[in-house]
Amino acid sequence: MKIEEIRNGKLNESYYKIEHPSGLTILVLPKAGYSSSYAVFAAKYGSIDTRIALEDGSFSDIPEGTAHFLEHKLFESEELAAFERFAKTGASANAYTSFDRTGYLFSCSGNFKESLEILLDFVQKPYFTQETVEKEQGIIGQEIRMYKDVPDWEVLFNLLRALYKVNPVRIDIAGTQESIAQITADLLYKCYGNFYNLNNMVLAVSGNASVEDVLEVADRLLKPAAGEKAKREFVKENPEPETDYIEEKLSVSAPQFMLGFKEAVQTPERTAEERLCAHILLDIIAGKASPLYKKLLENELINTTFSFEYFEGYGYACSIFGGETKDPQAVASEIKNEIGRLKTQGIDEASFERTRRKLYGRMIMMYNDVDELANELAATFFTGNGLFDEIEVCKAIKLDNVRGRLKDLFNENGSALSVILPL
């Protein structure tokens, strides 16, 4: 078994990367002095995996929302459901499905090994019946309907549908009531078999836990994996959006908007440098210290809900600005003008330095939080990066690197505006 220590002197943090004989990669970041721990056992299987690879290399469709449905159902077992087992350790257990992964997790401040044992056990023991699948359709149906009333969620998914023609990032993570109605116990077993093999998974732990603690449990519980990494399709997109405007009416106090710029990606994953440059540029364009933010706030075009993000995952990347506004078109045009101005006039060294320092600080701040660390360990592992990559890039990055990204990130013909209007 290969155990490698990856250390960052400036942060004074280390994590261990273990290639377990079962095929699973295990990442452990111990935090001295902490009483709490967080563990996440994740599969590289998310809502964008709407097709399953067949032996001949082709792909066949599975219903939208299957990854999320499977996540809900895995908590059940033939005997005691996972939640009832965690009730005996005091740990707080949960799970999530994102666009590109599914994570099962617990946090605890005692009985770590007992809880880890439950986690590793139940995720490796699927138990689905037609009856329990049907029961879950009611619960998830309510989850789907709940999100239909959440303007922040609707404005984002409408934007993704506007930006992307074919990439499955455009579909809802939980699917639709119609799509989940097609899910059967057999289908769940098939997807489980394809995506939940240890070669396609990772276990990430942070906090009050040692490599020895984790391995003691892992050695007992992990069953050697049959099968290989699941194949994921890189769905290429045209640089242009499906549509440049999308609108919906909901019961809200004021219009909500999201303006997204689609990046024409040539490779499925972004590098640490690409991500960092995007974060720096977004903050220079629209951060609270920027001239644009001041102008928008003073012209009463935004309020404190205004925010921005670099939204990226396997096969897609876009830069998004959003919030509440009385005039979505006017905000969108102000943002586009400012980007145009930066493209022609350039970015000054002072605002670059200030932003770089801010992001450096914010990245270090993450190292307090065991939840965030374990999830970040899992996420960076699936994208082929290391946990410390971005902070290392931040130390060395130059203004020229950032300038070069402005054109790729903000293609004038690649944007779309999503708006929620009051009823």
């Binding site: 400036k10 942060l11 935090k31 001295a32 002095g33 009483s35 709490s36 939640f83 009832e84 009730a87 005996k88 005091g90 707080s92 946090s107 605890c108 401040s109 005692g110 879950e136 009611g138 619960i139 309510q142 989850e143 789907i144 309907r145 709940m146 239909k148 009333d149 303007p151 922040d152 639709t176 009531q177 119609e178 909901l250 019961s251 809200v252 106090s253 004021a254 909500q256 951060g287 609270k288 210290a289 920027s290 001239p291 933010y293 001041k294 706030l297 009463e300 309020n303 404190t304 509440e324 200030r354 320092r357 801010k358 992001l359 450096y360 600080g361 270090i364 701040m365 307090n368 939080d369």
Partner: protein, 429 residues
């Protein structure tokens, strides 16, 4: 582990609570001000926001935010909360620990100075807050107040509180009303600031390796110029509901929101606090609770159904998102589950699960600087600051009899249902 905070009285009604530790990458300092939830609520609500947007030294929020970026992305936030019938205003600053400074500048010291500047040295024009700032903050506060509609879960809870506690201070909105905010003048806000400095109950919470003696001295110097007479802040506890009120309101929503409001039966915020916490948790807390196991898992009625105790007012709210037409069935089931708790119909394992889960969470607080700071902030009105470890000790002592006794003091006050209008109930995609 098991931090004891250093607690110092700085001036009448002004307390510093410092948890000194070098374990975190950050330091945080939070300035909290409690006032009775009455009088010029809107003017008080504007205060933390207007104060955190500029000061004499950084008169414009762009240069203030530039300074925060230079301080390695220090994060400055302002907020207003309700704590029983107190209005709790706060301004918090989180920054990187000094050992990460690239220039040798003490980040903690600079941040403390900045925070004190924001609170004590605002950017005044002829003895008042500037016209532009006032207009901006009034607009932002009105938009914040009205955006409560956007999150239907929050909105429904707020409506239930308002209806159930009509005529009590607790029924008022923490931001005031649209009309009172619109009417605010520079004088109102200036007076609210002066009144806050003189009469608010104030607590400064620090977590990290920052110099707590230095902060105490700086605070003492600021408050030595102010004649303090801290306000009496009391919350009225209505111990028993009269008769159950039922109200249904309609909005064009896809999912209905059901809220049940109960009177806990407590006399004050410390009355049987541990037993009530456990009782509410067994009823509708974790995945081992009655509501999760039955209303969600057994009956598949909802995605969430949970109970929350507000010990500062002695009320309990159950919230669930359900099909509008199933409101009756869901509320019956929720009450049936509550009757089971009252009858002691839960296993020793359920009680144990709850005690373990609560204590596990309490231990976890000490691993997060934000959680530590807010733990003490929410105890601003308590004469003695209990640590999470002390509270865990009390939780461990709770018996089944105490849980059942607490449940039997609870009465149902209001059932509120936010239903769909029925026009938009079909899924179009």
């Amino acid at each position: 582990m098991g931090f004891e905070p250093i607690v110092k009285m700085i001036a009448p009604g002004v307390r510093l609570c410092a948890v000194q530790t070098g374990r975190f990458k950050t330091g945080c300092i939070s300035f909290s001000m409690a006032l009775p939830l009455e009088g010029d609520i809107a003017a008080n609500a504007v205060l933390p926001y207007i104060l955190h947007r500029s000061c004499k030294k950084y008169p414009d929020f762009s240069c203030l935010n530039g300074r925060l970026a230079e301080l390695y992305g220090a994060s400055l936030t302002a907020g207003v909360a309700k704590l029983g019938e107190a209005q709790l205003l706060s301004i918090d600053l989180t920054s990187l620990d000094d050992r990460f400074s690239l220039t040798g500048e003490s980040i903690a010291k600079s941040c403390t100075e900045l925070l004190l500047d924001l609170i004590f040295e605002p950017d005044l024009v002829n003895g008042s807050f500037g016209e532009t700032a006032i207009l901006r903050e009034k607009r932002l506060l009105i938009e914040k107040l009205e955006s409560e509609l956007n999150d239907k879960r929050v909105y429904a809870l707020r409506r239930c509180e308002e209806i159930m506690c009509a005529g009590e201070k607790f029924g008022l909105d923490k931001y005031g009303t649209r009309e009172t905010i619109e009417k605010l003048t520079g004088d109102n806000i200036y007076n609210a600031w002066q009144n806050m400095l003189k009469t608010a109950v104030i607590q400064i919470d620090m977590v990290g390796s920052g110099d707590c003696e230095g902060v105490a001295e700086a605070l003492a110097a600021k408050f030595s110029k102010i004649e303090r007479s801290p306000a009496e802040i009391n919350t009225v506890f209505v111990q028993t509901a009269k008769e159950t009120r039922r109200l249904e309101e309609k909005l064009p929503v896809k999912q209905g929101k059901l809220v049940l409001g109960f009177r806990a039966g407590t006399r004050d915020k410390s009355d049987q606090a541990a037993a009530y916490k456990v009782m509410t948790d067994i009823f509708g807390g974790g995945t081992y609770s009655k509501l999760f196991k039955n209303v969600r898992e057994e009956m598949s009625l909802c995605y969430y159904c949970s109970a929350k105790l507000d010990r500062h007012k002695g009320v309990i709210f159950v919230q669930s998102g359900i099909e509008s037409e199933k409101a009756g069935m869901a509320s019956e089931e929720i009450l049936r589950q509550f009757d089971a708790v009252k009858a002691g119909d839960f296993k020793p394992d359920d009680l144990n699960a709850s005690l373990m889960a609560i204590c596990d969470k309490l231990r976890g607080i000490e691993d997060s600087p934000d959680d530590i700071a807010s733990w003490y902030t929410y105890r601003i009105l308590e004469p003695v600051l209990k640590t999470p470890a002390q509270e865990a000790e009390e939780i461990r002592q709770v018996t089944k009899e105490q849980v059942v006794a607490a449940a039997n003091r609870v009465t149902l006050d209001t059932i509120y249902m936010l239903s769909g209008t029925g026009e938009d109930d079909t899924d179009e995609d």
